[in-house]
Each structure stands twice: as C-alpha cells, then as structure tokens.
C-alpha cells in the first residue's frame, strides 16, 4: 500500500528532484526497509569490520612506497607499474587464469551429467540420498583430501603403481604431480559438489511436460535436449561456472602443496611478497591486480555467454541473429585492435591486452543490450 501511494506521488510530480526524493523514501526510508536494515545490521557490521576494512587497507597499501621493514607514506603508482610489467606476475596470473578455466571446464562438464542423472533418472524419493552422497567429500578436511591426492598421484602412488603393475607404463608418470595438472585435478574434485548442486536445481525446475512437448512436436530425444533442456538449464550452468571459477583463481593451499615450482598461482605470489619479502605494498598491488583480473574475466565471460546465447539461438533455429552476430564479432575485433595499439604505446603488452579484452567486451555488452531493447 505504501509503495503504491509513493509511486503515485512520484509520477504526479514533474520535477526530477522530488522524484529522486520519492525513490529514496521508497527504497530506504519506508518502515519495511528500515526494519530490514535493522535486521541485517549485525551481519553488515561484521562484514564491514572483517572484510571491507581489511580490503580497503590492502587497497591503500598498494599505493604506498615500501621502505626497508617499514611502509613509507609516499603515494605512488610504482607498485602497479612494476606488477603489470613484471614477467613473473604475468606468468603466474596467466597460469592462475588457465588453471581456473581448466578447473571450471572440467568440473562443470563432469557435473552436468551427474546432475542430469540425479534429476532425471533417480527416483524422487531417493534424490535426497544422492545429494547427501555427493556432499560426502566435505566430511573430511580439505587438507586431508589434498594429501590423499598426493597419495593417488605420487611417484609411487596409486595410479603409477597400478599402471606399472599392469605393464601399461615402464616408468612412473611425473606429469601428474607437482605442476599445474595436479592442481587442476585436485580442485576439480573439490569443487564438484558446488557445480552439481546449481545445475541440479536448474534441471529440477524444468517442467517435464516441456520435454514431452518437444518430443510431441517432432524432435528426437537428442534435439529435445539441445532445444529445450539445455537452454533451460543454462542459468544453473552459469552459476556453477561462477561458483567454481571465482574461488579457484585465488586458491592458495592446493598450489602450495601440490603445485611444485611449476604450479604456483597468484595467491602464492601474494604470500611470498607479504611474508617472505616483507613488501606489503607490492603484495597489495598484486592482490588488487588479481582481483581486478577476476572482475575483467567475469565481464568477459558474461559478454561471451550473451553472445553465445545468440549464436546458439540462431543455431537451433528460433532466432534471426545471423548477420548481427557477424557485425558484433567485427565490432569486438576492431575495439580489440584499437585498445591494443593504445595499450602498447602507453605501457606493457600484457596490460594492453587485458585492457583491450575488457573494453572490447564492455562494448559488446552495451551493443547486445541495445539490440535487446530494440527487439
């Protein structure tokens, strides 16, 4: 009732100022909103003190100068210039991104059939047992699970001794431990439940009569899956991707125990700068930079998925995307090119490429949005 009254007031007023005021009143000052704010205040306070304040401090540190054993309060961009032109940071960051993408791809691709099986082939009364079984790995500490992978993947580990016993290989495989591969394997296993659950929920929500309708309208089971099940499960797949990708990029434990010298990731670099080199400003600049990379990666991913949806829609035959997709791809490439030229002139090549990707994809998102509103 309050909402309606305020809305009416807002629309009858012609001045922009009063409308903004009305919106403020509606959003924050109405009794319900105040009540809500009161209720979240303990959590909000906790989160502010323990999350926002430290984050802000790190942000602040990254713009200060490192002295010997002290931090000097001289503002500088030097830490960022060093970070973004450093070949070590470039290599480690690219490896982190690569590992996260590999983990995400492996986890989601493995999780989908699992979620599909539980949703479509398990009796409704047994579904909760299956979900319970999926969460069993959480019963043991993550550290123990990591060490178990050590036992499985090790030089004299389960895989190597089995394969040698069977005569498949004559020498132990060393490519599966103390490098990026072992990190990917371990993380993919650890994050599987996080990927299975959102996909399962999305699949559960699909009205089964939609699948019958797909069959009824002349599509084979496979094409019904492609045209009905998959598009409707996509929100679950997207959230699975986010849930796996975001935490794995900053994972510290797994690469430090299983990564070896060739498998270290960004979090290990940050730890090195903070605790071993005692260089807080550089460590902070590295941390902030890698956070920015996650943000950029998400923008890229989001833009790509929107584009993918259009391409997919055209492919399965119910959208008139066609030429407009080609135009979009051309626009992205041109913006990439422009950004790279600007970036190379201004700073290091790595920074340039990252900037190019980000700007190109923001442009793509804006363009897709305008196309949507036109339709």
């Amino acid at each position: 009732m309050i909402k309606i009254g305020l809305q009416a007031e807002g629309t009858t007023e012609s001045l922009g100022g009063t409308m903004a005021q009305g919106r403020l009143q509606r959003r924050i000052l109405n009794p319900e909103a105040i009540n809500g704010l009161k209720m979240i205040s303990p959590t909000a306070l906790y989160a502010t003190l323990l999350l926002a304040v430290p984050l802000f401090l790190i942000f602040l540190y990254s713009f200060l100068t490192d002295g010997y054993l002290t931090i000097e309060r001289i503002p500088t961009f030097g830490n960022y210039v060093e970070t973004w032109t450093s070949p070590v940071f470039e290599k480690v960051l690219m490896r982190s991104l690569g590992v996260s993408m590999a983990v995400t791809a492996a986890t989601v691709l493995a999780a989908f059939p699992m979620a599909y099986f539980v949703s479509f082939y398990v009796e409704p009364s047994k579904k909760s047992i299956w979900l319970f079984l999926i969460t069993i790995p959480f019963w043991t500490s993550y550290l123990i699970r990591v060490f178990l992978w050590l036992v499985i993947l090790g030089y004299n580990g389960v895989i190597n001794s089995t394969l040698m016993g069977l005569g498949v290989i004559t020498e132990p495989i060393t490519a599966i431990l103390y490098n990026a591969n072992s990190v990917v394997i371990t993380l993919a296993h650890a994050y599987a439940p996080f990927a299975i659950l959102p996909i399962f929920v999305a699949l559960e929500k699909i009205d089964r009569s939609l699948l019958e309708a797909g069959r009824d309208l002349g599509e084979s089971p496979l094409m019904t899956f492609v045209r009905v099940t998959l598009p409707l499960a996509l929100p679950g797949v997207v959230s699975a991707i986010m849930i796996v990708f975001i935490p794995t990029i900053g994972d510290y434990v797994t690469p430090s125990l299983l990564g070896g010298p060739e498998g270290k990731m960004v979090a290990n670099l940050v730890q090195l700068q903070y605790l071993k080199l005692d260089n807080y400003p550089m460590g902070s600049a590295t941390a902030v930079s890698s956070m920015a990379m996650v943000g950029i990666a998400l923008i890229v991913g989001f833009a790509q998925s929107k584009l993918f949806r259009r391409v997919y829609g055209a492919f399965i035959g119910y959208s008139n995307a066609g030429l407009s997709i080609l135009a979009a791809l051309a626009a992205v490439l041109i913006s990439f090119g422009a950004c790279i030229v600007v970036g190379v002139v201004a700073s290091g090549a790595f920074f340039a490429i990252v900037l190019a990707v980000a700007i190109g994809h923001i442009a793509l998102l804006i363009w897709l949005k305008s196309q949507e509103s036109k339709a």
């Binding site: 009205d207 009569s209 939609l210 019958e212 309708a213 797909g214 069959r215 009824d216 309208l217 002349g218 599509e219 084979s220 094409m223 045209r227 009905v228 598009p231 409707l232 035959g317 119910y318 959208s319 339709a375």
Partner: protein, 367 residues
C-alpha cells in the same frame, strides 16, 4: 452434432492392456475413433483416460494389445514420429521462447523458407485469435492465451489427430465456456480428429460427437452424448453423467417386446424391452429417471401419462431452475426433480403436497 457413421477409422484400439508394476491401469480397451470426429474420454481421476490418451501420443508403452493410427500399427513408433500432436494440461509452453518461436517450434525440419514459416506462424496465431502476439515472451501470457498458443503450436503441424489433455481445467468458468465453443468451431474448421480427455461430464456432452465413459481402466459405455444421457449402460455411468434417480423395482413378467415392472411409489407399469440397460443380474433391479422427466402439476394441469401425490422434502433454488427433493407416497426413497421457474408460479415450500407427473417412456430399467 453427430457425424455420418460411415467415416473411415482413424484410431483403433485392440484389447489394449497397460500395467504399472502390479497396477492394471488399462484393462482391455477395444474401440475405434473415426476420422474427423470430436471424441471425448470421460471419467473420474484415475480411470485411465489420460493413460489411454498418452498411448496414442506415444508417451506410454502398452503392455499388450494394438494401437493403430490411420491403419498403421504404432508399436515401436516414438512420439516424435507419430501423426499426432498434443495440447498438454499444463500447456507446456516453452518459457525461454517467444510466442512465435513456440508456435514455430515444430517447423524446424519443414522444407519451407523462413518467410513462409513466419507466414504460417502468423496464420496459426490468427486462427486462435492471437494476431500480433508473436513477439511476446511466453511467460507473460495469461492462462487462456497460453492455451491458445498451445493449440496453434499443435495445429500448425496439421496432425491427423489432435490430443487434448484436460485443456480447459485450469481456466475459470466463463473462460472455459467460451473456449468450449471456440474449440468446437475450430475443430469444424480444420476437420482434424480431436480427442479430448476430461473429467467434466458437461464439457464432454457439450463438445463431443461421441464419448467413451471410463471406469477402472475399462470403457463402460461408448455412445453419442444423447444416447449416453438418455440411456446409460449402468447405474455408475448414469450417476457420472448428470443426476439420475433410482427407485427399487421388481420385474413381474417379461416378453421379447415389453417388461412388466412394479416399483413402490410408481405402481405397476410396462416398459418397452429396449428401455432395459445392462446385462441381466448385473445390478439390483431399479428404475432410473432424470430429474427433468418428473414434473410437478400446478392447478388443473393434466398429466400426459401418469401421476401420483408426493411430499416436498427439500427445495434448492437456482434462479432459472428449482430443484425439489420429493417423496412419492409409498416410495422408499426421496427423488430429485427439476422445474424451470416460470413467472407467476410459486416455488413450493418444504412439506408442501404436490401432484407429480411422469411418463413411463422416459424411464430406464436397470437390472
């Protein structure tokens, strides 16, 4: 209403059985459905009517028997290769597609050009009264509109048989009555065989050329609506279709032409042999009659056939009609009769005495 009986057969069931584990869902269905017919499967929930419909669509395998569509055995033919399309009870409109994309869903493999398909889609939308709705998101539609989209989506493929699984049950009463008429018109216009599943006897009577009444996985009676109403095969069918009064009776004598019956309240009378329903000895003998076949005589009206005195036990006033529960003098049970209300004629009170008239020709004898 009724179709010429010489239409070719579209669907044929031969002794169809269906088991779910131990549960015997279809118990030997044998029936034929003619081409171009508006056919209804009517019955209470759990009687197997939806299962039978789904065996036509190909969503259920049958345990034994034969289902033929257009003279072809459908054994092993998957749903996507059958010449049938279905309007689902939930409508099953694809929420991720627009209205036009929903309607055009089945045209993917159609060899026509994109423009021709778009034209077919807009024609289908026009046919169901949704001109200009093509670009709308499917999830923004009302119940009635969803139903129309589901119809257009099925009919655009020009199926030999259109299957409707309780399509009107989710609509409100006004909308339902309007859609009933529209469906009948649509069926006449396209000439496709429609098979409707419903638990609403009124809906079945209004819409169908023929109705199969089902109980417990069996067809209890298959007839045109008038025969079904006038002469139900047994007491269960009679109770399911409209209201019927039953009065215990005794058969005094029987010839091949007529049957002499005695019933407390009705006295002794003769009915024609074809007024008897059911096989001999199936049920306790009773005479059945519809509420509208009894009439209360006012003032000096004369009965055309027979009359007797009765007491009014209950009065239910409906505006255009009044239902009375009356007990004929000497009858063991009260009976319901309906009278159309006429200006100037009083509605009787409980306890009033009334002269009640009936015709023995309108009775059905159950035995």
């Amino acid at each position: 209403m009724t179709l010429p009986a010489e239409q070719p057969t579209m669907i044929e069931f031969k002794d169809v059985h269906k088991y779910y584990g131990d549960y015997h869902a279809l118990r030997g269905i044998t029936a034929t459905i003619r081409a171009g017919e508006f056919f209804s499967l009517l019955g209470p929930s759990g009687c197997g009517k939806t299962t039978l419909l789904r065996t036509i669509a190909g969503f259920e395998d049958i345990s034994s028997g034969v289902v033929m569509i257009d003279a072809k055995d459908m054994a092993g033919v998957p749903a996507n290769q059958r010449p049938t399309n279905m309007v689902f009870q939930s409508y099953a409109i694809f929420p991720h597609l627009t209205v036009a994309e929903n309607v055009g869903f089945g045209l993917r493999k159609d060899p026509r050009t994109k423009e021709e398909k778009a034209k077919a889609v807009s024609e289908a939308l026009e046919m169901v009264g949704l001109t200009g709705f093509g670009a709308r998101a499917a999830h923004a539609l009302s119940g009635g509109q969803r139903q129309r989209v589901a119809l257009a989506r099925a009919l655009i493929l020009k199926p030999k048989v259109l299957l409707l699984d309780e399509p009107l049950s989710a609509l409100d009463k006004k909308m339902r009555e309007q859609m009933q008429v529209e469906l009948i018109k649509l069926q006449r216009q396209v000439g496709i065989t429609f098979i409707l599943v419903t638990h609403d006897q009124e809906e079945a009577l209004v819409m169908s050329d023929r109705i199969a009444v089902m109980f417990d996985g069996e067809i209890a009676q298959l007839d045109d609506p008038e025969t079904l109403y006038r002469k139900p095969a047994n007491r269960r069918v009679a109770n399911f279709i409209g209201t019927m009064n039953f009065l215990p009776a005794k058969i005094v004598s029987e010839t091949s032409q007529s049957i002499q019956v005695e019933a407390a309240g009705f006295g002794s009378f003769t009915v024609a042999a074809d007024q008897a329903s059911g096989k001999k000895g199936d049920e306790e003998t009773a005479v059945g009659f519809r509420p509208e076949t009894l009439t209360i005589l006012f003032d000096d009206q004369k009965a055309s056939d027979r009359e007797a005195m009765a007491t009014v036990e209950e009065v239910v006033y409906y505006g255009d009609m009044t239902y009375y529960d009356i007990r004929l003098d000497g009858a063991p049970v009260a009976m319901r009769l309906s009278m159309r209300n006429v200006p100037g004629r009083p509605v009787l009170d409980i306890g009033a005495r009334a002269r009640v008239a009936w015709s023995t020709a309108a009775l059905v004898l159950f035995r």
